[in-house]
């Protein structure tokens, strides 16, 4: 009876059907900006229970939806109008696609009859977005809206998550139709999850048990699948040291004795060293990106690779695996754990390999040279770690601060660290932190930022203040585009072009002008106080921390070179 009521046909406009269908999907808020072509859907906010959060640029709205999606594992929703509103979301879609983040972007479009006529604020967003979305819908009739929403949300969150676009012409939003909201639907060509092959899981275990120096490489898929307990169980049972990709940072508690941290271009010294010495890798939910493995050839030559991934197209794309298990990595790991139990594999004793790994880790904890000054990046980020509760959520911008965060901010509670790792989108962290805070208002959310990156979306301060979303922006401010400056120092003979931000703007004043709290911290004492003040405040806070513009991020693996050629701080 209840189902009959839910499914009852109702006459309503396309815009109303959009909001009704989104309510059925459990959407509580939309990040967006209104404009001519999406006004009918905006008008529906007056008549539904969905909160609208006004962004100040459509790109920021997509990053907010992205941050919400990564933290809540439910699609974040953003709205934009046609034309420039739609083109402004492309960077956000590409970012979400590169990092497999679930978002549903809804754009207004010019009326159906105007499509293809170069109308005012017309852009072919379906064509333009094609390479950077998981799927796109353009309902041409109002009655098609509910199904597009139902399928769109399903596609965005299932299998390997990703961005979905729903582009709705204005007259389709306005038209009335008999609406049916389907519970059941079929997408013939879409198979989000395969059942993991048990025989392959058996072979994976054999390979791990027969290796002398096995290691786990946990990628972002481990976090998306929230396979934290499974990862820890298999690591502890088989005594496998764990390295992660940068996207996988925090898939495994970084204070665990078996944790070595991220590998890669700016990986931890001990992680890159041990990855280079290992003879077999259990790779979980990773595409073996160039930033993680250095050179593809050198990586796979030395190693037996076991590859678990939800996306069959990742198997063999960048690295050749000896054993591949396609399926949700949490399900695959569970099968492996069950097989270990069945075989009565006992907890492995500490092998010479694990002993060597622990010694290497201890050595680098002791001996990695860091900036000698009071306000060096390592000291600043360790202070932040010390003062933040473990459950706090971190987002980052893109640049030196991001890599310092990877090196010096230990993630203790799995799944609390998020960054634009694939596309490397400067300006992502701050709006993403706003989305994260909306998903988890109960925990502190901190955007670890650099001055260059923050400048790209700093106007989201208006959103944070006016919508009462008190996040903390933690700027390691070297007044330069620091990562570019580092490359110019390293590879371009110190010819510094286009990197000096010349102390502009003053971020404390900028924050205050938006009604946020701005605090400058120039010593460890001031920093300590600033973090404590920010944590106890109920308003968005920007902490501006001036640092040495010459500080480099080290270790460093130059692009196109193997991990073994890591450059260490001298």
């Amino acid at each position: 009876m209840a189902i009959d009521l839910i499914n009852k046909m109702e006459t309503m406009t396309g815009a109303k059907a959009l909001m009704t269908a989104m309510e059925k999907e459990g959407v509580k808020q939309v990040f967006g900006i209104p404009g001519g072509a999406n006004l009918p859907m905006y008008d529906e906010f007056a008549r539904c229970n969905i909160r609208h959060i006004l962004a100040r640029h459509e790109q920021s709205a997509t990053h907010m939806a992205d941050g919400f999606g990564r933290v809540s594992r439910k699609p974040g929703v953003c709205f934009a109008t046609s034309g420039p509103g739609a083109t402004n979301i492309l960077t956000g879609l590409a970012t979400a696609q590169a990092d497999s983040s679930p978002i549903v972007a809804v754009t207004g479009q010019v009326p159906v009859a105007m499509i293809g006529k170069d109308a005012f604020q017309e852009s072919d967003i379906i064509g333009m977005s094609n390479p950077v979305v998981k799927y796109a819908f353009q309902p041409r009739q109002a009655s098609e809206v509910p199904e597009a929403v139902r399928k769109g949300f399903y596609i965005a969150r299932t299998g390997r998550p990703g961005p979905v676009l729903i582009d709705i012409p204005k007259d389709v939003q306005q038209a009335e139709a008999e609406m049916e909201f389907p519970d059941e639907f079929k997408i013939q060509g879409y198979h989000p999850w395969a059942d993991p092959d048990i025989v392959a899981c058996e072979r994976a275990i054999d390979m791990l048990l027969n290796s002398e120096k096995p290691i786990i490489l946990a990628g972002g898929g481990t976090i998306i699948s929230s396979a934290f307990a499974e990862l820890q169980s298999i690591a502890e049972t088989l005594m496998l040291p764990v390295v992660t990709t940068f996207k996988g940072k925090g898939a495994f508690p970084e204070n665990h004795p078996l944790s070595l941290g991220p590998i890669g271009m700016h990986g931890h010294a001990e992680a890159n060293k041990m990855m280079t010495e290992a003879d077999c890798v259990l790779a979980i939910g990773t595409r073996f990106s160039d930033r993680s493995v250095g050179t593809f050839e050198a990586f796979e030559k030395r190693l037996k690779i076991i590859h678990l991934d939800v996306d069959p197209a990742e198997i063999g794309k960048n690295q050749t695996a000896q054993v591949a298990v396609v399926g949700d990595v949490k399900a695959s790991l569970r099968i492996m754990i069950k097989l270990l139990l069945k075989r009565a594999v006992k907890k492995t004793e500490e092998t010479p390999w694990v002993k060597h790994v622990k010694e290497t880790k201890a050595y680098w904890k002791e001996n990695l040279k860091i900036h000698p000054g009071e306000m060096g990046a390592a000291k600043i980020l360790r202070k932040l770690r010390e003062l933040l509760p473990h459950k706090s959520i971190i987002t980052t911008e893109v640049g030196q601060h991001q890599m310092w965060a990877s090196l010096f901010y230990d993630v203790i509670q799995p799944g609390t660290f998020f960054s634009s790792t694939g596309l490397g989108t400067m300006g992502w962290g701050f709006p993403a932190s706003i989305g994260a805070k909306v998903a988890r208002p109960d925990v502190p959310v901190v955007d670890i930022a650099g001055d260059g990156s923050f400048a790209m979306t700093e106007n989201s301060l208006a959103t944070a203040v006016l919508e009462d979303i008190p996040v903390i922006v933690f700027i390691l401010n070297n007044f330069t585009l620091g990562m570019v400056a580092q490359w110019q120092r390293t590879f371009y003979d110190r010819r510094m072009i286009g990197v000096d931000q010349k102390h502009c703007p003053d971020y404390v004043k900028l924050a205050e002008s938006y009604g946020a709290q701005g605090i400058r911290a120039q010593s460890m004492d001031e920093l300590d106080k600033a973090i404590k003040t920010a944590l106890s405040s109920d308003v968005a806070t920007v902490i501006d921390i001036p640092i040495d513009p010459e500080e480099d991020v080290l270790p460093f693996v130059a692009p196109g070179t193997p991990l073994a050629d890591m450059v260490l701080p001298s």
Binding site: Y135, I187, G189, D311, K317
Partner: protein, 160 residues
């Protein structure tokens, strides 16, 4: 390697664009492409031939399979497949003997002759790309004025 990939897709607008855009954005190569609706008007079949190494062909198939609009993607074994391409050649005739010579070659390849004029004739040929290439080599000396090719259509033999 030369590979034939058969793709069953939903017969909707924009799918051909998505398929070719995938090839372009992932740096894959399209040697030929043919598209037509199937017996069920809800589906179209695309046949794409490509020259790539084995690893890349496997990637192409996987990436196509991942596309939500594709219903079935198969790499066809050319030994277990009937594959043909339709080709039209406009051939130059320079003297009285040429017409007979070209006719002879066309007949040997199972071709049909159309539009016979004093200075040119057209040959319609349905064959494998390999045979078409061989035919082209033979008629090149006469002078080829124009060529139109459909791209390969292919179906697996039953039971294979």
């Amino acid at each position: 390697m030369w590979a034939i990939i058969s793709i069953l897709v939903e017969n909707k607008t924009g799918i051909l664009f998505k398929v070719t855009n995938l090839f372009r954005s992932r740096n894959f190569n399209i040697d030929s492409i043919s598209v037509g609706v199937t017996e069920n008007p809800a589906y179209s079949r695309m046949t794409i031939t490509t020259n790539s190494d084995e690893k890349q062909v496997a990637q192409i198939v996987k990436q196509l399979d991942k596309m939500i609009d594709t219903v079935e993607v198969k790499q066809l074994d050319e030994h277990k497949t009937v594959y043909r391409e339709l080709c039209l050649f406009m051939i130059k005739l320079s003297n009285a003997n040429d017409s007979m010579e070209v006719n002879k070659i066309a007949t040997a390849y199972g071709g049909k002759v159309h539009d016979v004029k004093k200075e040119s004739l057209m040959v319609e040929l349905t064959a494998t790309p390999h045979q078409i290439q061989a035919f082209e080599e033979l008629i090149k000396p006469f002078g080829i004025i124009d060529v139109a090719r459909t791209g390969v259509a292919a179906l697996q033999r039953s039971g294979s």
